[in-house]
Each structure stands twice: as structure tokens, then as C-alpha cells.
Symmetry: none
Subunit: 224 residues, 2 copies
DNA sequence: GACCAGCTTACGCCAGCCTTACATTGCTCT
DNA sequence: AGAGCAATGTAAGGCTGGCGTAAGCTGGTC
């Protein structure tokens, strides 16, 4: 699952990213309002962690822009301001939660996961399809109850296809989900991972097929 | 919108209910774990405000029961305990937010609305006709809820006719929509794709017909 | 019945996709 | 540190199915 961290303090953002990685999340870091806008336009994130004081403007403007577009992206606001009015403003603008600095990394992770667990269900309940169960917390795959561990990339592809099972997932979305902002990929990596995932699923007798929709993307469904 | 307040302090619960009514929400008040369970079983609420210390048990048990049943009901936990560990526990159990007493009514409303704001948007903008739904984002077609995948060209024709259902679409418009500006087509491609689309729609039992208007174009409508 | 617009089927071509192989990187265990 | 190993991204070659074209057919119109 990929997050966007908007924070101009380099030290803090690195700390966040590494803490979140330990908790099993990938993240992209940007340092300004402008970069945040770009990132949000090009990649689909599971959530955003947003600092309010940024060099080129107020983080809340990014948030209010999102909400004006009816984008339900979970947003956790991070700030030094901790007045009641600040908190109320943040939440009214559409923040899903509000955390004042300084904070414990543990609490940030807990609050983040609480956000992700809400309707929209990015986290929490496991995902199921046919005889396969994928636990979103431990990132473990079970086929007929037997546990398997796939590599990070394979899991990532499985997850996004599983979340949108029965629906077509554009190839570009898969690519963004796997690689985020970290340099565009100059190869057929997505195809390779889909291929590897197909092989894995079949080896483990999962009753699942990944259909290819030429020129569009992929569709995961139960094998009939 | 109706809320469930689970709180044994009568004074506080009344205060909450009146404050929420002022903000435009109806609410039911219950005082115990047992009553909460009954209420949840018989009524469908928009959200629950849950106090943890109740006369007959821990409010968290109500919450964990809900989540075990994959019920995504938004829950705002309310409590006097405010240790980091308490908050983390509450959020991990599946609370959407956690508010420590004492709190300002204004903040509770703001947090509640932050929780309620997210739409469970499963599909992008979609076009409908008879028993067919077309999702413009994933470019997927559903007939009686069953997903189908058409090729790029077929989808393209379907989309323009669907967007102007009930109206005649000049053949030239269809051609432009399919091929854009990229060089004119020196054949009867439009006719070919309309033909293929008709075949597909009928194969999938879509209750839709494409009428031909000689010398003009096509008209898509519900089959009577 | 002659004409004409549109319908349908067949077919070769090629972009897009699949798969395999391989070099590189980063991690683990000794 | 170094060996061993797994995972990752790239490249290359083969394959497939969607594509546009053309040709023969249908049915409505004058």
C-alpha cells in the first residue's frame, strides 16, 4: 500500500517513511504544495500524511482542493498547531484525522490504520476470492487455508487486482501502485509481474484467473 | 441521518443528543452493552458514538463484534482513558476515531463529520440503459450486474451511442469518436464495429437495440 | 428490377502482450 | 567480510487477438 508524505522537514519525513516501511507501507515523499499536487495527479495513493506548514503555502489548500473534487483520499494532517480551532478547521476542511507534533510514531501508525480501516476498506478485513484469502495486515496469502509468502512486488500486484476483483484495472494504475513516483519504469515490468503472479497462483492451485484486456489493463476473477 | 449514542452517563448523553440535533442529526440513546447490541440489530445507523466504560462491560466488545462481522459502521470512541496505549487499542479494534473526555462538542461534531464524509464510491461515473451499465473509468460493461469486456473499438462505439441514447448520432460523429483526428478511414469500419457491437449486446442479453437511420447514423435505445 | 446504403464474414497484418533468460542489487547467514 | 540466495528490472523473441480492409450479401426505395 502506497502513501504520500507531504513534509518539508527532511529528517522527519525520512523518519516517517522508514517507520511506515517497518509497518509495511511504501511511501513517496514530497516537500511542497506544488510537488504534492503533481504527485496526487499522477499516482493513486492509499492515503496522504500532510504537514500544514510548507515552504510554498498552507497544506490545507491541498486538502480543500481534493475535497472540492470529491476525492475521498484518506488524509492525516500533521502539525505543530494544536489549538482547538486549528483542529476543528483541519477536520472541517476534510481531514480524516489530526495529529499534533510531537507525536509517537506508534500512534501515527495506529491512527493511519484506523483511517484505512474505515468504509472504503483499505485495511482490516481480509480480501477473498475463490479459494484464496489475502490478509491485508500481515500481507500473507492463503490458498485453501495453506499459507504462502509472495515477494513484495508480486503481493503488490495481487493486492490491487484483488481489491478491484471483477473490475478492470488499467495497466497504468498497476504500475503506479507498484512503483509510485520512484522513477518511471522503462520496461515491461508490469507484464513480468503479472506473468509471475499467474504462475504462482496456478502453482498453488488458486481458482483464480487474471484476464488481459488489451490496451487497457487486467481483470482478476474467479476461475469458472 | 440517525446516530446511536452508547453512554451510561445520562447527563452527558442528553447533552450529546441535543448538540447533535442542533447539527442536524437524530440520535437514539442506550446505556449498556446489551442495549447497544439490540439497537444495532434492529436499526440501521449512520454512525455510532461509543463510550468505553459501561455498567455491563467494555464498549470495545461491541466494536470488535461489529468488525468481526465486517460491519463498516463508522464508530467514534469516547472515553476518559487517554493513555497512548488506550488510544492505540481503540483504533486497532476498528474505531474510526477516538476522543478523550473532556471534549468540546464542536470538536466531536467536526470529527463525526470527518468520519461520515467519505463516500463508498465503488464505481466511477457510469452510463446506464436498460439492464446495461457502462463504467467510464474502467471502460467496463455490466449486463444484469455481470461484467463483460469488449475490445477498445467496440467499447468506443458503445460509449458514444450510450452517451446520446435516444438520439440519432450521425455516422460521421461515430467515426470521429473512434478514430479521432488520426487520418480518415478508407473503409466501412464504423459499420463493421456497429455490427460487432450488436452481436455482442445480443449475446450478452442486453435489452438494447441499435437502430439504423439510413443516410444519417445510428440510434441506441432500450428494447421494448 | 435496378440501385444504393448498410450488413456481415473472412483474412492478413502488426501492436501489444507473454515468457524466458540474465545481469544487478540487496539481504542473510556463516 | 564474503558467499549464497532471493528479488528485481531489463531485454529479446515468439505469439495472439484486435484491427482495418475488402468483397459479397441483404433489404429498402424509387
Amino acid at each position: 500500500m502506497r502513501l504520500l508524505i507531504v513534509e518539508d522537514n527532511v529528517e522527519l519525513s525520512r523518519l516517517l517513511a522508514s517507520g511506515l516501511m517497518a509497518a509495511g507501507y511504501e511511501s513517496d515523499i514530497v516537500n511542497s504544495v506544488a510537488e504534492a499536487r503533481d504527485a496526487l495527479r499522477s499516482v493513486s495513493y492509499a492515503a496522504m500524511i500532510l504537514d500544514l506548514s510548507l515552504p510554498d503555502g498552507d497544506g490545507l489548500s491541498v486538502l480543500s482542493e481534493l475535497r472540492r473534487k470529491n476525492d475521498p483520499l484518506p488524509v492525516l494532517v500533521l502539525t505543530a498547531r494544536n489549538g482547538l480551532q486549528d483542529r476543528v478547521n483541519g477536520l472541517r476542511t476534510g481531514a480524516d484525522d489530526y495529529l499534533a507534533k510531537p507525536f509517537a510514531l506508534e500512534e501515527l501508525v495506529a491512527r493511519l490504520e484506523a483511517i484505512l480501516r474505515r468504509p472504503g476498506q483499505l485495511l482490516g478485513s481480509s480480501l477473498k476470492l475463490a479459494n484464496l484469502v489475502y490478509d491485508t495486515e500481515s500481507k500473507q496469502v492463503f490458498v485453501d487455508g495453506a499459507p504462502h509468502v509472495f515477494s513484495a512486488r508480486e503481493t503488490s500486484v495481487l493486492e490491487i487486482l484483488l481489491r478491484r476483483q471483477g473490475r478492470v484495472v488499467p495497466k497504468k494504475n498497476v504500475e503506479d501502485h507498484i512503483f509510485g513516483l520512484s522513477g518511471e519504469v522503462a520496461s515491461n515490468a508490469v507484464e513480468v509481474y503479472v506473468s509471475r503472479l499467474r504462475k504462482l497462483l496456478s502453482e498453488h492451485n488458486a481458482k483464480i484467473v487474471i484476464h488481459t484486456i488489451r490496451g487497457v489493463g487486467y481483470l482478476m476473477a474467479e476461475e469458472k
